[in-house]
Symmetry: C2
Subunit: 256 residues, 2 copies
DNA sequence: CTGCAGGGTTGACCCAGCGTCAAGGTCAAG
DNA sequence: CTTGACCTTGACGCTGGGTCAACCCTGCAG
């Protein structure tokens, strides 16, 4: 008669594993001796080795039972299915590796290359990291929800930067990050914005880049959270008949 | 302000996942509104998207935190290490597939081909399945513990079968499976065994095939469990100065 | 006002395959 | 008698949440 550790040693498994196999019903519980120790016979060694062999070969414990009693044909079928699952899992991990590689390569944390390039351009025209981060966060949200639109939007942004007033606006915003909420210079921003909007409307722009209402609201609120003077800018714009930020719309003054 | 399900939708994860991230400290718990609902701001959306992006790329949640705050260099290092772990895991699964394939191919449940061949030879000389199973179980134990010895032992077994008395012995054992414990014919087995042993000792055999004491005891007890008349055979052998079964030793009668 | 649907909340169990305490009983040896 | 090794049961931990359960909150229709 063998103790549990002798049994485990003979089969090359741990004591803990043997008890686990008892619990899940793979290996029948043997009689206990007078002190409550499990007492195994040689047959248990053989059963345990067979279990271990299958488990070690990648058969899930839940399927070991059926394979142990299976006829050769069923055995082959079962093994084939398990192999299929292994292949699936391997492919999944390989996909994961690819995504990870892309992450490391340059799509810096959820952003496609076009956005990274655009942020670099903002750096080139002198925007501070503090602003870049705000902008980056906005792009992260867009990339997550409408990745198919993002390259179009980026193109429009690049085009907008061709306009000198837009570059000027960015310059002021760059400074405005330090302004207090009631700075008188906020009006400068509003003036510039309005002139850009008027020009855009003249040119037939629809604005909003095709983003849906939900996302637009989200981005607007992100802006409000991030910038101290944002609320005042929106209020001033509204007085002049413009509404929104991510997607600015012209509202007739008589409707206010 | 967003509810948890709005937040989850914006980031493309489930509500349950968001709560999980709270629990493990990946995403800070936001303020609650007057009714106890979590109220999220747009910043939370960004954090959540970044978490999701990393997790989705195969970064373990436990390491997401450090990567989110990591400097680019540390980030690259971390990603590389995770990739290494992924490669290791893939290799492990591929090894598993190989073992599984060998299992299906023919190494029938823990037995090398040489043993399968030997069992086939036993079938050819007329041994019944009932005996083959006993023998197979013994080989499973040997294969599990001293796989490097098994081919040597098999060679010796094949050689032993060249001796006509051995074949005769197997024939009797084949019938003996049905004998009751007190059958008078058990003596025939003992006679044959003794003559074979004497011949073997003359030929200079050492016996036991190099198996260690532990394994020998185990196999002896397996035999005792499996065969009804086994104990009597061992007793009769012992009267004549032989001890053991798996490894039979000559003991001078005066030492009994 | 009330009922109902469709949100939200926390809590707890579930998957695999054991590893790893914890707290205590048993055994053989010095 | 003590020590140390081994046994017992029970329960938590890990991964990444899925899936109830039971109950609260909100808004809308009748």
């Amino acid at each position: 008669m063998l103790t549990i550790s002798q049994l485990a040693a003979h089969a090359g498994v741990t004591v803990r594993a043997v008890r686990h196999y008892h619990k899940i019903g793979l290996l029948p519980e043997p009689e206990r001796d007078h002190s409550g120790y499990r007492a195994y016979d040689a047959g248990a060694v053989v059963r345990l080795i067979r279990i271990h062999t299958l488990a070690d070969a990648g058969v899930p414990l839940a399927r070991v039972q059926e394979l142990l009693d299976a006829a050769p044909d069923d055995f082959t079928d079962g093994v084939e299915e398990i192999d299929k699952q292994l292949r699936t899992e391997i492919r999944r991990l390989q996909d994961t590796r690819k995504r990870l590689a892309r992450l490391a390569a340059g799509e810096h944390l959820a952003l496609p290359q076009s956005v990274v390039d655009y942020l670099d351009r903002l750096r080139e025209i002198g925007m501070r990291e503090q602003y870049i981060e705000l902008e980056r966060d906005a792009w992260i949200m867009i990339a997550a929800q409408v990745p198919h639109l993002i390259d179009d939007v980026i193109v429009q942004k690049h085009q907008a930067l061709e306009h000198p007033d837009m570059v000027k606006l960015y310059g002021i915003v760059n400074e405005a990050l330090d302004w207090s909420e009631d700075s008188p210079r906020i009006v400068e921003i509003v003036d510039l914005l309005e002139s850009l909007m008027v020009a855009a409307v003249h040119a037939g722009a629809t604005g909003g880049y095709g983003l849906d209402d939900d996302l637009v609201r989200l981005m607007d609120s992100a802006m409000l959270e991030a910038a101290p003077g944002a609320e005042r800018i929106l209020a001033l714009l509204e007085e002049r008949g413009w509404k929104g930020w991510t997607r600015i719309e012209h509202v007739p003054l008589d409707r206010l």
